[in-house]
């Protein structure tokens, strides 16, 4: 068996497969379906300081090779999460990443202070790129990114990751801002702003008009962002999220330079996908007599395989 274990963020992860923030909820309901010890980590649904009811229906619509979603960060708020879901989540036998969103750096600091008191998390992921809550996308503004990251890093000793948009702003500037003030890594990318119109009624399908596109449709976008971020920041931890749906696309994501592969839309379609990917990746590495997944991370930056 090849070694899928990765040492990153001061911890050891069982595999590069990570459940992205959103479709996995807090992991508790999906736990019976998941082979948890094969999964590197679960990222929580994004938590905010106050409870949020999210957007009105419809929140989801099909797209060729994906879906548009507009959930709007529905969550119980950090206090209710701490009271209700946190203890159950802590029981799950895998690593955990806490996703947070705030409307100002000050609020992010308050939220991160509360988050730092919750045990059992290996990293905090700042969601600075939700396309479904209106207003400006923080992650597109490099100076705002700096302020939000600084606010969180200053009050917690847990590694801080930053989830950035793939379709707006200057990704490298935002990444540079985040890393320069202490972010340990980048999660690339959030869903991509999109629109569908019901042509039988002439109205947008989603209640908020726009949604975030996820699924195989955005794979080339996420690969490009991961590739350019890896080129620019060789030392940053990168979670590549966006459109991975099978072994081939998972390997592509690693070769583009992602340390970890975030699975979001793919989990909605097939709850077994994370463990299937881990098993298939292991087998694929074995067949090529590679001892560790480490050997293919960033491979596309160094000329690919030696062909004799």
């Amino acid at each position: 068996m090849a070694d899928l274990v990765l040492k990153r963020l001061d911890a050891q992860f069982a595999s590069p497969i990570i459940l992205a923030s959103g479709p996995a909820g807090f992991g508790v309901e999906l736990a019976p379906a998941l082979d948890l010890p094969r999964i590197g980590a679960i990222t929580t649904k994004t938590i905010t300081i106050e409870p949020r009811t999210g957007n009105d229906q419809p929140r989801l619509v099909d797209c060729p090779s994906g879906a548009l979603n507009s959930i709007g960060l529905e969550n119980p708020g950090i206090d209710a999460f701490a009271r209700l879901a946190h203890s159950q989540m802590r029981e799950l036998p895998l690593r955990r990443i806490l996703s947070l969103a705030a409307t100002s750096p000050g609020e992010m600091e308050t939220l991160a202070v509360k988050a730092a008191k919750l045990s059992g998390f290996d990293a905090i992921e700042l969601n600075l790129s939700c396309p479904n809550i209106g207003g400006k996308i923080t992650g597109a503004d490099a100076s705002a990114v700096r302020e939000y990251v600084r606010a969180a890093v200053g009050v917690t000793s847990i590694p801080v990751l930053v989830k950035l948009p793939g379709d707006t702003g200057n990704l490298l500037n935002s990444s540079e801002s985040a890393l320069s003030v202490g972010a340990a890594g980048l999660t690339l990318i959030n869903s991509v702003r999109g629109l569908r119109i019901d042509w039988t009624t002439g109205r947008p399908f989603l209640s908020r008009t726009y949604g975030g596109l996820s699924g195989p449709a955005i794979l080339p976008v996420s690969l490009a962002r991961v590739f350019e971020a890896r080129s620019a920041f060789p030392e940053a931890v990168i979670i590549g999220t966006g459109g991975v749906s099978d072994l081939g696309s998972a390997i592509e994501m690693l070769m583009a330079g992602a340390d970890f592969i975030g699975i979001g839309f793919g989990l909605m379609v097939d709850p077994e996908l994370p463990q299937k990917l881990a098993v298939e990746l292991d087998k694929w590495l074995d067949e090529r007599e590679m001892v560790s997944v480490q050997e293919i991370i960033g491979l596309a930056h160094s000329g690919g395989f030696d062909v004799h």
Binding site: G25, P32, D35, D56, R59, L60, D62, I71, P271, E272
Partner: protein, 260 residues
């Protein structure tokens, strides 16, 4: 609850879970009757649930289509297979009309709270269906015949008549009546209502029966995960956010103040 029990051993700690409803099961299309707008199909597979409770739904996908699966209320569930009644528009649904017999679909579920867990079974109900919303109500009348006081199944045209021989349809194009209008002639105080159909029909019904007890509506939304985690189907209710795929699809009218 009619959740199929297939024990799955997880590798983590040897704990045994009943997790079969999370996994795709193969199902063959073994019978089909179609009209212009609808199809009544029977799917059979060795791992398909045979005891889906009334009101529950399954997710269906065709091949490894990289899109969201489609949710369908179950019309009947037995050793013979899973029977669905669907409108044949849309990607998965069109396949039900065109795919050759024997075509393999993938099914997971059942999901949702059974109707019997949400309604009081100490009274009788009038079943009000609109279009493919008839499916779970046909399941109900088969399982709980003693709780049915009357039935109205509204369709725009006669199109579906040949597919649903077991019931009488209210066809708007011939009678000029819509389901909620037909309902007026049979509802009387003391009877509950179970309704499933398009939102405009449910709204009309809500306007007239808002003050009555035991009026329930089965809601529809695009379903993402099916298991309550993605929150793609969350709706506002009088007791906070609830998920159509988990706490629903059936809700008491009084829980839905927005449905008027």
């Amino acid at each position: 609850m009619g959740v199929r029990v297939e024990e799955k051993k997880l590798m983590n700690n040897g704990v045994t879970h009943s997790g079969s409803r999370f996994f795709w099961q193969q199902a063959q299309l073994i019978d089909r009757r179609t009209s212009e707008r609808y199809a009544r199909v029977l799917l059979r597979g060795p791992e398909l649930p045979s005891d889906v409770a009334v009101g529950q739904f399954v997710l269906v996908r065709y091949s490894d289509d990289p899109c969201l699966p489609r949710a369908f209320s179950v019309m009947s569930s037995s050793d013979l297979g899973l029977e669905l009644f669907v409108k044949t528009a849309g990607r998965v649904r069109e396949k039900f009309r065109t795919a050759p017999m024997g075509t393999v679909f993938e099914v997971r579920g059942p999901y949702g709270t059974p109707y019997a867990d949400k309604i009081s079974l100490d009274r009788k109900y009038i079943l009000v269906g609109g279009g493919s919303g008839a499916a779970p109500l046909l399941h109900f009348r088969r399982q709980y015949p003693n709780h049915v006081a009357g039935e109205v199944y509204g369709f725009r045209t006669e199109d579906a008549c040949g597919l649903l021989n077991e019931i009488e349809l209210t066809v708007e194009s011939t009678t000029g009546l819509r389901a909620h209008e037909q309902l007026r002639s049979i509802w009387r105080p003391g009877l509950g209502i179970l309704a499933c159909g398009p939102e405009p029909m449910l709204r009309l019904l809500a306007q007239e029966y808002r003050q009555q007890p035991d009026v329930y509506v089965s809601l529809e939304a695009r379903i993402g995960c099916g298991v309550g985690t993605c929150l793609g189907c969350s709706i506002h209710t009088s007791t906070g956010m609830q998920r159509i795929c988990k706490e629903g699809p059936l809700f008491a009218l009084e829980e839905l103040p927005w449905l008027i």
